[in-house]
Symmetry: none
Subunit: 206 residues, 4 copies
Amino acid sequence: MSDTKSPDATRRSERSRRAIYDAALALVSETGYAKTTIEGIAARAGVGKQTIYRWWPSKAAVLLEAFLDLAAQANEALGGDDEGEIPDTGDLAADLKYVLRATVDELNNPTYDAPSRALAAEGVVNPELGSQFAEKLLEPQLQYYVRRIEAAQAAGDIDPDVDPRIALELLVGPLNHRWLHRTLPLTHAYADTLVDYALRGLAPRA
Amino acid sequence: MSDTKSPDATRRSERSRRAIYDAALALVSETGYAKTTIEGIAARAGVGKQTIYRWWPSKAAVLLEAFLDLAAQANEALGGDDEGEIPDTGDLAADLKYVLRATVDELNNPTYDAPSRALAAEGVVNPELGSQFAEKLLEPQLQYYVRRIEAAQAAGDIDPDVDPRIALELLVGPLNHRWLHRTLPLTHAYADTLVDYALRGLAPRA
Amino acid sequence: MSDTKSPDATRRSERSRRAIYDAALALVSETGYAKTTIEGIAARAGVGKQTIYRWWPSKAAVLLEAFLDLAAQANEALGGDDEGEIPDTGDLAADLKYVLRATVDELNNPTYDAPSRALAAEGVVNPELGSQFAEKLLEPQLQYYVRRIEAAQAAGDIDPDVDPRIALELLVGPLNHRWLHRTLPLTHAYADTLVDYALRGLAPRA
Amino acid sequence: MSDTKSPDATRRSERSRRAIYDAALALVSETGYAKTTIEGIAARAGVGKQTIYRWWPSKAAVLLEAFLDLAAQANEALGGDDEGEIPDTGDLAADLKYVLRATVDELNNPTYDAPSRALAAEGVVNPELGSQFAEKLLEPQLQYYVRRIEAAQAAGDIDPDVDPRIALELLVGPLNHRWLHRTLPLTHAYADTLVDYALRGLAPRA
DNA sequence: ACATAATCGAGACGGTACGTCAGGTCTTTTT
DNA sequence: AAAAAGACCTGACGTACCGTCTCGATTATGT
């Protein structure tokens, strides 16, 4: 009944998994995604190639999991359950500026920038990986916005007719655009302006 | 003083150039960017590999030029000088919806989608190519928006304090986000909503 | 202390080695040495190019080993230990004519001629390969002559002051000359005459 | 009636021919025959590739002519008509030792060694070039021996039944063997011994 | 002296093979 | 049974030359 060739996950070496994550992230940061090879990851991790092929279908998948793991670790370190949740101080603009500024900082941080770009780029061109990327990384983050915006609608800060999904894209889309295409620098000021412009458009009608 | 090893462009074979453009675009559309190889392009174009390496530094560069050429041809076919210019009927919302709907159609057209994604993705990860992509493809298109928005400011349809650059990103950013990450379908309705939300935020203050 | 990058010979595929030998000899015989390529050998042997590059430094080295193997197999097939040894019937002239005629036959046999010429020619121009060729193929054969001539000296058939090494060259040198330069046909009669002339010069002094 | 595509030799550039000879010989001496390319010769000679392809069918042909020209120049410099003729002082052994020693010196001279080996090797493997090599370079030299040996037969120094052609090979063959296969050093002493052994065999019968 | 035609230097072109790198599979030995 | 190691076949890389083919620019006669 079961897949004839799926390996036994219970016997999997945790040691190797960690080493592979580390090697993958390090190599992508150091030499870029294109020059990162599975052989290179295996060598750097002190691992046989087959150990990678046994557990992951592609280089991109390795990196995606590695990055997911990195994010999970970061969250764990920071504590709480509602780790990525957008604060609700009652001041919607302030709350959004806070998270958008944090996002700007993250995107400007080379440690995250390199693997993020690699994954985003791969997802753009590879629907398989793209949907994984969207589902596991992107969407959860976007849901934070959805919840905060719905709260704002409940509080009367945003027009109830507005689609929260589109509202959120008004904030996140432009940021992503600048980041991906490197057209202009990503600054806190830019984040603030974005929030200002967007909220004016989303405010309840007079 | 001059570059020691650049080939003589006056002797270049126009025939080969065209064949290479065609082959590159065809292969990217048919098999995807990753599986498109320089060898494959050369073979399909009936051209020696060296003829590609002589004139382009990379697969991405070939594709960029091919796509640029494709766009140029399309424009030429359509005639006029201000080919890509955003119409100015006096009704800003209508004008923007018109172009944004057209953009949606283009992004949904497989002929353009495949090479565009490939170039965008490559640019995300490869700054060299990214800046070429931005400069030669993206920026010129964005300038159409800048001009139309400035005209709207002059006409009193948009707040004069608004930065046209950021205004444009409010429209283009979300569209790109959906396209690149394939989160939700790109429709005319979405384009319209985007214009509505954004323009409310950019309108002159009461 | 050991060579840092030599492959593990114990894991070597015997199957591939044999296939490469066969392909190399076949191609050299069929199309000549110059038109024989490593890619061609690999293709014909159903082997990856790297498998050739892993174990041999050059096309010539492959062919040398292949030929050595061919010779070894031939000897094995013929049986005995003293396979190539020159017979000693007591009649020196007859014994030498016997082997020289056999050599003539071999040099006239296309199966041996093509690879032999290829190796000899390569050795002429490439000292590295040349010394291998001399050491592994040529020299062992010449030693048979040395031993037979020394026996003849012991038997009083050849002047004891004669240098066996030079004596042997008196026989083998002319044969090789005709073969390599194709000046005149190689016949049994020629071999006989060579022996006659040479032995007269090497006979004990009256 | 004439070949439709043979170039007009009267218009040929002497300048280019010389430059090509020089470049070819220099490159063969410096880098070896295999690494000498037609493109390299053309570049070094400051000549278009076509100028080589127009007048010669192959790299080997260029080198052969270049070498022939070199030899012709050397002879011209040394003067006389019977330049290569073997002296006839009445003492056959001495005369032969004289020329064989000279041959040894030439074969030990790197200026001649490199191109000679290249041509000889190419001739071994390429019958076309081989016959040219034999006819234009080798045979004329061998004829000197034939003539001297015939004179010796007339003078009663050599058995009249001896075939001069084979006699000559008894001298030249061994020398060539050592040279081509680099088995043992080529010395004057070796040349002398060769003459001694051979002449003993060729002397008139008691 | 000049017209004119072939040779010349240059080098782009369609190809073939080079020697290298990595992909993904398979096998052997170790843990 | 999974893991480290690494040989294997495959296929693409980017480079070097092949021999052919255009390009002006430059001779070198033959009228």
